[in-house]
Structure formats: C-alpha cells, structure tokens
C-alpha cells in the first residue's frame, strides 16, 4: 500500500541538453491530470548549450504537487533527480534531509567531477548516504538495457535517460503515465524508433521501481477537491497569448502583434504566430522600436495593436508608448520582466520594471499598469489590458515576468461564450455643432476621446506627438492649454475603474499587513498561511492594478500599524505607497532571479508581527 502524503516537491536537474524542461513538464502534466494541484518552476541558463557538464549549463524543472490548494513551486525538495555532478552541486543544497536523491552514476567521470568542482566523487565519500536516500543508478546502462530491442546508438540511448528517470519517479509517486505515453506517441509519430525507445525507457524506469527494492515505500498524493469542469495545465505565456486572442474575438478587432525576439517574451510571438486562422497578424520587426511602432500604426487603423517584450525592450519602446499617450490610441504592451539592469540575467525573473512602466517616459505620461498574480491569471490580465486600452484609448502595460511566463498551473477552462464583449465604439459621425470632427472632444464622464479610424468619411483628422488644443486637437503651444491637457490626461487615466483591493485577515485583529503585487502573490500567500498556521494574525493585500491603484487601497493600508512590501526589486512599490498614502510601508527585497523564498519571508513576517505587537 502506498503511503499517503499531502504534498511533494520534485526537481529534475541536468545538463542543458538532458531534456530536463521536457521531463519536468511531463511530470507536471501527469500530476495535474491526476487531480493534484500543481505549480511548476522551470529554471534554465541563457546559453543554449553551455559546455557539457558545467555548472553554468545546469537546467532544472521543479514540480510542486499536492492534495490541496498550493500557490508556490515549493522550496525544500523531497526528490532531486541529478543527471550529473554539476546538477548535484547546484541543487543538493535544496534537498531536504532524508529526501530522495536519484543520480546517474555513469556521469561521475573525472572530467565531469572536475567541471563541477568535486575533488573526490561525492558518491564515494559516504557523505550523501548519511543525509539522503541515495539512489545511484547507472542510467546509461539501465536505459540501454530497456531500449536494447531498438538498436539505438550510444547517443540516442543517452538521450532517453530522462524518460527512464521520469518512469522511475512516476512509479515512486504512483502517477498514471498515460498522458506521457500519448504525448510521446504524438511527438515522435514520424520517428517510430525514437518513439518506441522513449516509451521503452519510460516503462523501464517504472519497472525498475516496481521490481527492485530500491525504495522501501511508494507514495500517493490524493486528488484535491476541484470544482467540476474542464481543466488544463497552462503556462503564463500560453495564458497571455490566449487572453490577447480572446480580447481580439471579444472586440471583433484584428490582433496585430509587433515583436522583436527577446527572452523571456519570445514565446508570446511564437504562440500568436500560430493563430493566423483567427486573423492574427504577427510582425517580427527589425527592432523593438519598429515592433511597437507597427503595433501603434495598426491601432491607428482600428486593429488591436499589441507589442511584447522584456525590460531592455521596454526601455527602447518608451518614446513610442509616449506617442500613444499623446495621441490617446489603444496599445497593449506586455513586459515579461527579467533580471536587470542592462542585459542582466535574461532567463531569470525580477519585478524591477515597475517604475520604468509607471514613469520611464519624458513628460507627465500616465499609463495604466496591470500585473497578473499567477501563470493562469495572465489570461484575464491580458484580456483586461486590452479592454482598458480599447475602451479608454490608452496604452496599457502588463507586467508579467519570467516566473509567470514559464511557470504553469491547472486552469479551469473558461467558457468562450461568456467572455464580455469589448466595444471599441469607433466614431462614425461629427461631434461638434459645426458638423466637424474634434478628435479630443472627450466624454464628460470618462474623459475618453472619440476614436475615428481612417476610411471613415467626413472625420478626417491629424494627430501626433505635439501638444493638442483641448477639444479640437490642433497643435497648440499655449501654456494654459498645456496645463489643462496635462491634467486632463492624468485625470483620464485616474478615472479608469478598477476593482477594490481586499483586506484578507481571518483573525480580524491583525496589526501587520503584507502588501504585494504581481507574481509574488504565490510566495506571499504561502508565507501568510504559514504565519497563520502558527496562530499569528496577519493581513494580506494583493494589488493587480498598479495604475490606477484601487480606490480603497489607502484606507486599507491605514488599518495596519505597519505594512510589509515584499518585492523582487529594491522596494519600488513600497516607494509608491509611501509617497502616495504616507503609510509606514517597509520593503523586503530579494533579487536572486527566482520567486521569493517562502521560509525566509515567513521568518521575517513573524519577526515583524512580534515587533509591531511590542511597539
């Protein structure tokens, strides 16, 4: 009888060429199909193929799965699969004492040990057995045995090692491998030997668990209670692309994506370039500026203009975004943030573009900013970004990040028919008493300007980056008019309706509040749960709309004696709330290219609750 456990964290780690992303992805998919809640964390180097066996070339994929609702990819590993010494070196510190360590002994060659910086093989000095359940396997040999009937070469056998490891871990946690089998059959349909060898390696791993007495126990993780419905596993990149596509369908406007390849945003270009059947036009431009320029041009013509990028690209696009601010045209900018400054760490996550998104343009340049809180949440955040852009005629920046883009979780598939309609409300008639068209004659309530697209007879007009006269929209250098227009543009964005923030405090007596935005939602929520499990009261507020901020946010923050703002930057949101609300908001920053550490944050929050109680 397998032993029941509540939650498990497994990390697959190996060389960039070892197929760890794929292996982890499949294990996550199996777990999701089994009805567990899952959160995944891929972590890979920027180099496509770093020197084999090197520390720099280690790629990993972590899967957290549970019989209950979980919100982070987990911290302390229950299982580490280390395909070589470098992977062991990098990831062993994350394995909990007593955890399962599966490693490929055939890779502990002198050369690989040198690369990883081991003078003596850790397999030989007894250190690993003392702290972990060490499973040393000659994966080359056992995989070779499993795939022997297919007469593959050494290299091909080596490539199937990951499937053997997947089979073994799947056995250990009683996973149903059907989805992986189906997936392999589909993926390698055109190469029957490769398909059969991978299937055999997968079964080989499973049988190895079943037939040897390598593991004393086998585990099972029960399904969580999920609302009935259809589910899928979804990454932030997929969810973002689908959100944009859904907004195109909901608005009836063609989706035009202008993009220049940049990590970690390129997947959005890849996803949407496959959607031509929806009329989606993707344009791989010559640079970041051309990408956003083309998107704005498409918007001017009445399409849904979108550009996708990461921090360095956002910096290049800012002048064009400012033109969209001045011309008050819809434009959606997706910034998949990565660690900066400059090129920084392209594949690693960070939240340090907030101030760039808010104020990184010349002049007073208000732009709505939205930040999704989880991979699946990217769907509705992208949809909402489009809705605001189209209905209020403004550029909107969505701040995703590398963790959200690459991470994945189960998602209750929404009903396409129930998505709200987005009405772009194109102007078709003159709007002045003289029977002329004044492009800056605003709606008195929302301050939105009318949007007349080329091809509309009688509404011909010119717009541009020069200051406009209020109403008419002709060029104006008048000082008083400029003062009015600057204030109108600010007020226009400030009036955009956003949902209220919520004060989450089951105890009702919390004095300390933790405030987050964007992708830190998972780590903060997990830390808050741990604090509460200890019976310690704490309130949580999470903000999705960063501009305009929820109208009640100031009031909520003032309920707390102290506000902690954990961020993957040096306190950018903390600075905003201190400036705006004059509250005692304190920053807690970690910038390791990874989501915030839950244990570390929990300890900090506990110490802060303690302090506040003694003040």
């Amino acid at each position: 009888m397998p032993e029941q456990v509540s939650r498990v964290v497994v990390r697959f780690a190996g060389d960039s060429g070892d197929g760890m992303q794929l292996t982890g992805g499949r294990f996550g998919a199996e777990s999701a199909r089994q009805g567990n809640d899952i959160v995944t964390l891929p972590d890979f180097p920027a180099e496509i193929r770093a020197p084999q066996g090197s520390i720099g070339g280690v790629s990993s994929f972590q899967v957290h799965f549970a019989d209950r609702d979980i919100v982070t990819p987990g911290e302390d590993l229950d299982v580490l699969v280390a395909m070589n010494p470098a992977a062991l070196k990098v990831h062993l510190p994350s394995l909990r004492r007593g955890g399962v360590l599966i490693t490929d002994s055939s890779e502990y060659t002198k050369r690989n040990l040198n690369h990883a910086g081991y003078a003596v093989s850790p397999l030989d000095d007894g250190s690993l057995e003392a702290s972990y359940q060490l499973v040393r396997l000659d994966l080359n040999s056992v995989t070779g045995d499993a795939v022997a009937p297919f007469g593959l070469g050494r290299k091909a056998v080596s490539r199937a090692r990951n499937m053997f490891a997947l089979g073994l871990v799947s056995w250990l946690y009683s996973r149903d491998m059907t989805p992986t089998r189906e997936w392999l059959q589909q993926k390698f349909a055109a190469q029957p030997e490769v398909r059969d060898a991978n299937l055999a390696a997968l079964e080989g791993g499973w049988n190895y668990g079943e037939n040897t007495e390598t593991f004393a126990v086998r585990y099972e993780v029960a399904s969580i209670f999920q609302a009935p419905g259809r589910y899928r596993q979804i990454s932030g990149s997929q969810a973002t692309a689908l959100g944009l596509l859904a907004a195109s369908v909901a608005s009836g406007l063609q989706l035009f994506l202008g993009a220049y390849p940049i990590t970690p945003a390129s997947d959005l270009l890849h996803e949407l370039s496959k959607r031509k059947a929806f009329g989606v036009q993707t344009f791989q431009a010559e640079d970041e500026i051309a990408a956003v320029g083309a998107a704005l041009g498409a918007s001017f013509g009445g399409a849904l203009g979108v550009t996708t990028t990461s921090g360095p690209g956002l910096a290049l696009k800012q002048e064009m975004i400012n033109l969209a601010v001045m011309t008050e045209l819809p434009l959606v900018i997706i910034d998949v943030q990565r660690a900066g400054p400059s090129t920084g760490m392209p594949t690693k996550t960070e939240q340090a573009d907030l101030l760039q998104a808010m104020w990184g343009r010349n002049g007073e340049s208000p732009v709505p900013v939205i930040a999704p809180s989880s991979p699946a949440d990217c769907f509705s955040a992208a949809f909402e970004a489009c809705r605001i852009a189209l209905t209020h005629r403004t550029p909107v920046i969505m701040l995703s990040d590398a963790y959200l883009a690459n991470g994945s979780e189960p998602w209750l598939v929404p009903d396409a028919g129930s998505l709200p309609t987005i009405d772009p409300g194109f102007a078709t008639e003159a709007n002045t008493e003289q029977g002329t068209f004044a492009p800056y004659h605003r709606d008195p309530l929302t301050l939105d300007r009318p949007w007349a697209i080329p091809g509309t007879p009688g509404l011909e007009h010119r717009i541009g980056g020069l200051e406009k006269s209020n109403g008419l929209g002709t060029i104006s250098y008048d000082g008083d008019n400029h003062d009015t227009m600057v204030k109108l543009r600010a007020e226009h964005i400030a009036r955009i309706a956003v949902p209220d923030a919520t004060w989450d405090d089951p105890s009702g007596v919390a004095k300390l509040a933790v405030l987050g935005w964007g992708s830190t939602w998972g780590a903060i929520t997990a830390a808050v749960r741990r604090v509460r499990e200890l019976g310690v009261p704490i309130a949580q507020i999470h903000v999705r709309n960063l501009n305009p901020l929820p109208a009640n946010l100031g009031q909520l923050l003032h309920r707390a004696d102290r506000v902690i703002v954990p961020e993957v930057n040096l306190g950018q949101f903390a600075m905003i709330v201190r400036a705006k609300y004059l509250v005692d908001a304190r920053s807690w920053s970690r910038m390791r290219g990874l989501p915030l550490g839950v244990s570390e944050l929990t300890e900090y929050l506990l110490s802060q609750v303690e302090e506040v109680q003694h003040v």
Binding site: W183, R232, Q233, K276, Q281, G297, G301, R462
Partner: protein, 362 residues
C-alpha cells in the same frame, strides 16, 4: 479574393483603395491649418504637387493617410486634409508598416527627411524597403537639419561648415538612391522641387507602384542651406553637368544632349562626349531590369560633394509581391480559417482555450 488580389501583383499600389464617389479637387486635400514652413521653402512645391496629384488618383480622401516623423517635412500631414499622423523622429515607417499590413484599403504616404529617414530612422528605411511594404515614401532631402536650426545631416557634403561642425563635417554623405537599391527596394526614384512636372510624374508612378516606393526629392532650404541644388539646375552649368533625366527606353544624356553615359570596360558608368563614343554606345535606361546593378551604377553618377551632376527619374521599378499582401495571404490561406463570424471564432477559441490535453472533473 482572386489570386491576383491576394498576391497584389498587377493591381497597382492603389488597387485595393476605394475610389472617390465624387470627383475631388485640390482644395479637398487642403486642410484648414496655416502652413508654417519658411518663405521660399522647397516643401511648398512638394505639398502643392501632392495636393494636386491626390485628386487625380481618384481614390477616396478618407482612405488616404500621410504619416511623418520629425523635422520640417514632418509637418506635411497637417496640411493635407485626410487622415494623418505626425509621429516621432525616424519611426514613421514603422507606424506605416503596421497600418499597411492591417489596412489594404488605404493609400499610405510617408513624408520624411534626410535626417529622419537616413539618420535616426535609417534602420527602418532599410527594412521597410527590403520587405516591400505597400507605401509611398517621399524623402525630402535638403542636406541639412532645418528644424534644429542648421546642423549637418547625413546627406551633407564632407567639410560642411555648420553650427555643429565649425571645422567642417567629417562624415561621408549617404546617397539615398544607392542605399535604397542596396536595400532591395522595388521602386527607387529621385526628383527635384523646382521641376513640378517631373516631380508629379515620379510621385504618380510611386503611388501606383505596389510595394515600397522611395522618392528622394532634392529640396531647397532657403534658411540653412540655400542654393544647395542651384548648380544642378543652373542654365550656366557647363555641358556634361546638371540633372540627367532618366527615361525608360531612352539613351541617358545630359541636359544639353552632348554628353551621355557609357559603360567602361570594368563595368562602371562614365560621362562621355556623345561625339567621341557614338550615340549607339550610350546606355539605354531600363528601370524594369531585374538586376539592380545598372541602377546602382547610375546612382553613383551623383556628386557627393557640391552637387553639380545628378540623375533624376525612376532608377528602378520592378514587381515583387509586397510584404503586406503576402502577410494577408498567409492569413487568408491559414489552416482552419480564417473564421468569418464571431460565432465561428468563439467555437475555435473554445477549442484553443481547452488546449491539447484537458481533463474533466465531475
């Protein structure tokens, strides 16, 4: 959609632009904005030529769009009573590209200058031309930065003394026509502000070309670079100099007709007295030649210092499917689409939302 209109070949640059129901006049394209160029500026002549040409093209005014960047020339859209955007420095072509790809029913003109197109926007010019987006690019070349009050531009001659180059500019100037030809442009032409008839005929051909058309217009800046083109058009110019008009099927001769272009043994073109070489040896212009080598050689006849001699006219005009037509064709022929009705799209979207590997919890 017929095969021809999908490929866009054979239908001309304006083939998908609706025609005007009523005949339009020049004043229909004249906006109520006061023109604010300096007196004597060559931009007036270009504006006047365009305003006169647009009604002759027969297309609907509301389907005409002028996009510009920054600079004196960039004020152009304000003065044409159609849709227009005065954008940011060097980026007009990027905006026009997005517009052209999504709106085949628009006639799009980009008004740009030597600084806007060849300096800050040089990259976009190269890529718009090689893609062959269906646009008409009119490049106002006055060999100077006017709006910023007189610094040397990428077309200024070496040694140009300006406020920012008191000891003379060190930059070798760029030849817009050579650059365009090197960028795989399908239509490359040059004209001059002082020859209204020539300018109009070149602009007409550019609008009617499907794909990117580049028209460089030599334009006088009376304030900061007055007379930059005077020696080209001077009646006192010695024979063998001046503007060399390129006419399809005609021998390439200087204004007086006594000098012509001949091919030297190493392939480059030389200006030789017709008497010496014989008219039969003067090259005959063929803008439709598939190979751009001869057109490039013609572009090198242009002086790079003081401008005494330069060919004008259509250097190259060839057919190649335009980027936007091909992009729309990919959509029109996409597998499983394009879904026409919103209901169809919703059904397709639902499948996509569920992905390849959904599961059901009951």
């Amino acid at each position: 959609m017929s095969e021809a209109s999908v490929h866009g070949l054979g239908i001309g640059g304006l083939g998908q632009v609706p025609l005007s129901i009523n005949p339009l006049k020049r004043k229909d394209f004249t906006s109520d904005q006061e023109v604010r160029w300096c007196p004597g500026c060559g931009d007036y002549a270009i504006l006047s030529a365009v305003q006169a040409l647009l009604p002759e093209l027969g297309i609907a005014r509301e389907n005409t769009v002028v996009v510009s960047g920054i600079g004196c020339s960039a004020r152009f859209p304000y003065y044409v009573n159609s849709y227009g955007m005065h954008s940011i420095h060097g980026r007009a072509l990027t905006i026009a590209t997005g517009l052209a790809v999504t709106r085949p029913d628009l006639a799009i003109m980009v008004a740009t200058g030597d600084g806007d197109a060849l300096s800050i926007g040089g990259n976009h010019l190269i890529h718009a031309l090689r893609r062959n987006v269906n646009l008409t690019v009119v490049l106002f070349n006055n060999r100077i930065y006017g709006l910023t009050k007189g610094q040397f531009s990428p077309t200024s001659e070496i040694g140009k003394v300006t406020k920012s180059s008191p000891a003379g500019s060190l930059d070798t100037p760029v030849n817009a026509v050579s650059l365009a030809l090197g960028s795989e442009a399908t239509f490359v032409a040059r004209s001059i502000d002082s020859d209204r008839a020539h300018l109009t005929s070149v602009l007409r051909a550019a609008f009617e070309h499907r794909g990117s058309s580049l028209v460089e217009v030599y334009q006088n800046c009376p304030i900061f670079n007055d007379g930059a083109w005077d020696q080209l058009t001077s009646p006192d110019a010695p024979d063998g100099e001046g503007v060399i008009k390129l006419e399809a099927g005609e021998p390439v001769l200087t204004p007086g007709g006594s000098y012509g272009l001949v091919q030297a043994p190493d392939g480059h073109l030389q200006v030789k007295a017709v008497d010496e070489v014989g008219l039969e040896n003067v090259i005959v212009h063929d803008p439709g030649a598939d190979d751009p080598t001869r057109a490039f050689a013609l572009s090198r006849i242009t002086d790079s210092g003081v401008m005494r001699r330069s060919p004008i006219g259509i250097f190259r005009s060839v057919e190649r499917p335009s980027f936007d037509d091909l992009a729309r064709q990919q959509i029109a022929t996409a597998e499983g689409g394009p879904a026409d009705s919103r209901d169809d799209k919703q059904t397709q979207l639902q499948q996509l939302l569920a992905g390849d590997d959904p599961w059901t919890v009951s």
